[in-house]
Amino acid sequence: MSDQARRESPLAEFLAAPRKADPATGAGVQISERPFLGHINLRGDPSEKRFLEAVEGAIGVALPLEPNTVAEGGEISALWLGPDEWLLLTPPDRQRDVVLTLKAALGDTFAAVNDLSGGQTVVRIQGTHARDVLSKGCPLDLHPRVFGPGQCAQSHISKTMALIRQIDDTPTYDVIVRRSFADYLARWLEEAAQEYGLAVIAESPT
């Protein structure tokens, strides 16, 4: 039996019953999950050339050094978390290889690689009112003049910490949240999105 089949994502229960938006209002907000992605936490000193080169060599993308930005490279995207901390997102089932390649490339460089897959998940929030519904709980300035695709920021949505990344100008946001908080976040979003018309879809439109 493959791992995939035996996995259960944090929002599995919440998504078990998909909801359609009231056709009258339409769906101003769509909520879905991008389950089972590889989440890898990387720590290292960006002033160390060796470190940066080793990482870029291993994952094929240069780490973003500008705070709160995202670097995309093929199947892997790297999100800035802190001056010496990044989150690498990989497609499902790729994380183990990536971790191994990274560790090999880093050798005895002072760095830390941690596979956090399964410990957090990605909630996708999409639609004309996606920005509004996030703003009900998130104090970040998400105005297009300030925050757009290619950027990410850690903050909180209501009472759960979250890493927010804008995907496109629909707008579409990916919210990375710790596993145990995912259900709360989803239920909070469900309530907050009522006035805009809400659709909860099992499979994420990627």
Binding site: P67, N68, L81, G82, P83, E85, P139, L140, A153, Q154, S155, H156, M161
Partner: protein
């Protein structure tokens, strides 16, 4: 409601931060060499001024970095923020 400039992430809402109290309290290198009185001073005694205050903040919901801020505890205005490794700003006013 404070708006605090994280040295890395820029201005963010107070709700993203947690407070660390007085800054620049250095842990004694050799605690056993201290008298109980000296140890108590390090452990508990604080300046707690009303006015200019150098204090510690953690961008808890953000980049998880500790940093220092120079804030007026009466007006709540934040004059500057600086990294832990930076020296304390001079109180020139």
């Amino acid at each position: 409601m404070l708006l605090i400039s994280c040295p890395w992430c820029g201005p963010r809402e107070e709700s993203e931060f947690s407070y660390g109290g007085e800054a620049h309290i250095v842990r004694p290198k050799d605690p056993d060499a201290l008298s109980d009185l000296e140890w108590a001073d390090y452990l508990f005694m604080r300046n707690n001024p009303s006015g200019r205050y150098l204090e510690r903040w953690l961008h808890a919901a953000g980049c998880r970095r500790w940093f220092n801020a120079e804030r007026d505890t009466v007006s709540y205005k934040i004059k500057s923020v600086y990294k832990i490794s930076d020296p304390a700003p001079r109180g020139d006013e």
